[in-house]
Symmetry: C2
Subunit: 460 residues, 2 copies
């Protein structure tokens, strides 16, 4: 540790755990994107809010960028440190601090894994409803920084909706204690909501109070084989009308292909163009009958040609695996990811146009679609042919993204539904946000982080 800046940091915070080990620099310098070469100055592992404040104050003094680092499961390069930044890993700040059964508020440190939050809530007879496949590794602080969505948004909304309070260290090292778990607090700008989704560019979340809720009644999972794209939204409309939905997800035959190759079990003998996985309340016979009559209607209308319904938790998990295993099954193919959203009503027209565009522009690539169709959120993964150079591949994909952006713009959509802007989507921020909005964001960033040290180069 010969860098004089690091010696100064060690002098200021003698207890701070700090590493310049090349393995740590590599590991903590990147997220699930693999496009940038990690090159942080060092990795810090603060154990307290005071240490986080100390790091940020030091960084202001020496002019080093600060990259907050959670589970690094991000897909937009938001947690990449490629330019000599100091990484603030929240791995050691991963404890449950408090639970109040009357408030139904769980207070945690930011480095706790989402799945650990689920488990603690369950032990208390309650539910923290935000959920997605990376639950075992992603951290709640990162969930907040990206306003994480996932598979239950249709019922429970995004992370934003579950944050009762936040402690945040700003870009100047000030500690804010925002909202403090109040249900009602009309006392000026809700800075909590400004921090949620700010991708570490305003400050670092150092503590979070999460609202928990009652768990839903027992549920069932249904898998549906859908022969045509324009049936997807009809099935969704009927499902929403007739059932109490917790999830309504779709994927294509290409997605199924990869997830089966990765070890999942084939659900139907035949192959179909589209599949839906939906989960809904099935508390009693009446609810189960409603599910059956929904299925029969879809079958009679020709919107669905085959189906399976879970009758045990194991079966439910097997059906979910077909959807949740997709991201992992694609990872070896270095996918280029698009994560787009439109209003739900715009999904059919947008999907049709996008399919046309993609088949014209990607005739030789394997394009895999899936996503949260009931939220208007589609994931389009383009797989890299094994023999194609990565830089060339990304360049070709970005060309298509630029075309996609036009289509999105016409449909009032967003280039980032839930992954965030980070580094990956930055070139297209102006397709979603107007010049005036971006100017306001820059102005706000300058107020919170006057020296521009917080996650520099990301988002803005």
């Amino acid at each position: 540790m010969t860098d004089p800046r690091l010696s100064e940091l060690a002098r200021l915070l003698p207890e701070l755990k700090l590493s310049t080990d090349p393995g740590d620099l590599e590991h903590h310098g990147r997220d699930w994107t693999r496009r940038w070469t990690p090159a942080p100055l060092a990795i810090t592992y603060p154990a307290s809010i005071e240490e986080v404040q100390g790091i940020v104050r030091w960084a202001n003094g020496v002019g080093v960028g600060v990259v907050p680092s959670g589970g690094r499961t991000g897909l937009s390069g938001g947690a990449v440190a490629a330019h000599g930044e100091i990484v603030v890993s929240l791995d050691r700040m991963n404890r449950v601090l408090d639970f109040d059964p009357i408030d139904r508020i769980l207070t945690v440190q930011p480095g706790i894994a989402l799945e650990a939050v689920h488990n603690v809530a369950r032990e208390r007879g309650l539910l923290y409803p935000v959920d997605f496949a990376a639950r075992g590794s992603c951290q709640i602080g990162g969930n907040i920084a990206t306003n994480a969505g996932g598979i239950r948004v249709i019922r429970y909304g995004n992370t934003r909706q579950w944050i009762a309070g936040l402690k945040v260290v700003t870009g100047t090292g000030e500690l804010l204690d925002l909202n403090r778990g109040l249900v009602k607090n009309a006392s000026g700008y809700d800075l909590r909501h400004l921090v949620i989704g700010s991708e570490g560019t305003l400050g670092i979340v150092v503590e979070a109070s999460l609202n928990l809720t009652s768990p839903p009644p027992p549920s069932q999972v249904m898998l549906l084989a859908v022969p045509a794209m324009d049936s997807l939204m009809r099935v969704f409309a009927e499902a929403r009308h007739r059932l109490t939905l917790s999830a309504f997800e779709f994927f294509t035959d290409r997605a199924l292909h990869h997830v089966l190759a990765h070890g999942a079990q084939r659900p139907f003998e035949e192959t179909h163009p589209f599949y839906v996985v939906t989960e809904f309340d099935a508390a009693d016979e009446k609810a189960e009958a409603a599910a059956l009559s929904f299925f029969e209607l879809c079958l009679n209308e020709g919107w669905v040609v085959d189906g399976a319904i879970s009758s045990s938790e194991a079966q439910a998990a097997a059906l979910w695996r077909l959807r949740e295993g997709i991201t992992e099954s694609l990872a070896p193919h270095k996918p280029y990811k698009n994560d787009v959203s439109v209003r739900i009503s715009a999904v059919p027209a947008f999907m049709a146009e996008m399919q046309e565009l993609l088949s014209a522009e990607y005739p030789h690539f394997d394009v895999v679609w899936f996503g949260h169709i009931g939220d208007g959120n589609l994931h389009i993964n383009v797989l890299k042919p094994a023999d194609l150079d990565n830089a060339v591949f990304v360049e070709q994909c970005e060309h298509v993204t630029s075309l996609l952006v036009d289509t999105l713009h016409r449909h009032g959509g967003s280039i980032s539904a839930e992954h965030g802007i980070g580094l990956v989507k930055k070139p297209w921020l102006s397709s979603v946000r107007s010049e005036a909005e971006i100017a306001l964001m820059r102005g706000i960033k300058a107020v919170w982080d006057p020296n521009g040290i917080m996650n520099p180069g990301k988002l803005l």
Copy 2:
């Protein structure tokens, strides 16, 4: 209209409806507070977004403050114009612009009354769930500016939760089109949430897209007589556990006294210290039986000594009137209003301390309590004795507020739960928000409104 600034405005916007009639100045220059003498420069009634932009640009040029004006049912002086400001009344921008049944989004102009939104939603078989007694006069733009709460927060949250998109004219006259109805949109700072609750100090809401939801099943309303303060939270805990609540409100015998004097019908023969009005789902016999067994439990435990349950809509309305009629019944007594909140778990200790404080400090005043106890939100109205000068009365009340603020601070509460800061609570903003938070708010305000013309003097 001899003021040269107004002549200039009329020249710039020849179609703009504008009034300097003393009656209009008086009517549109104030809200439900009566402490300030209205003295606006003029009242404008724009009919379009372009006219709102034109007014704001003109105001920047001539250095006149802009006061956005909705239904003026506010209780914190947020819509008061007492210093030569231009008032922007949204009364003429009160139309429904669009409804999409797939998105379940209703797009409206800001001047539409909350009750009109309820009605339009109902006609579509859907629900806009934010609700409170001023529904007939308050406007959706004002609801957004104050993040209005009300009687259904326990189930549906505040206004914030229902805003899918906002068009806003900033302090420089720029038009922002925020979020555009997307369910998922992780593309930088969510400026929509910064505007919600900003009390007109950042800009003017000129269009809103509201999420609608499915109406709840049929409900029942129960009135409970509660003999002691410490039973209130026990009754609430049981109700939340056993029933699906839409509302859980309380009021005191003093509140009942005034509402009866105002024409409501006496519910029980005897008088009791506290009353609860609760509304809950009663879709079937099972749910009705749960309500009955909840009531019996409360009775057996001695938490409740009498009760009434609605068996018709008319009866439900009569029970609700006991709670909803309170504000109106107190109005002739020029109440000094406190609108405070604490975490739900802190309610019992806070209420006990507050009651002690108030009986020590207000021995001769009529103090009326009511509120949304399930949200931790209490309204404390101190009635002005008829023979006491108003200024002296307010001064005495503010002295007590300062004591109350200490108690609140110890319990982590807020001086404004849902009324906003406006002018009335401004002296105590620093009891809820830290110096660092207030500095950030000021910085953000300067970014949105560099000339400081938007609702000057309010909030900050």
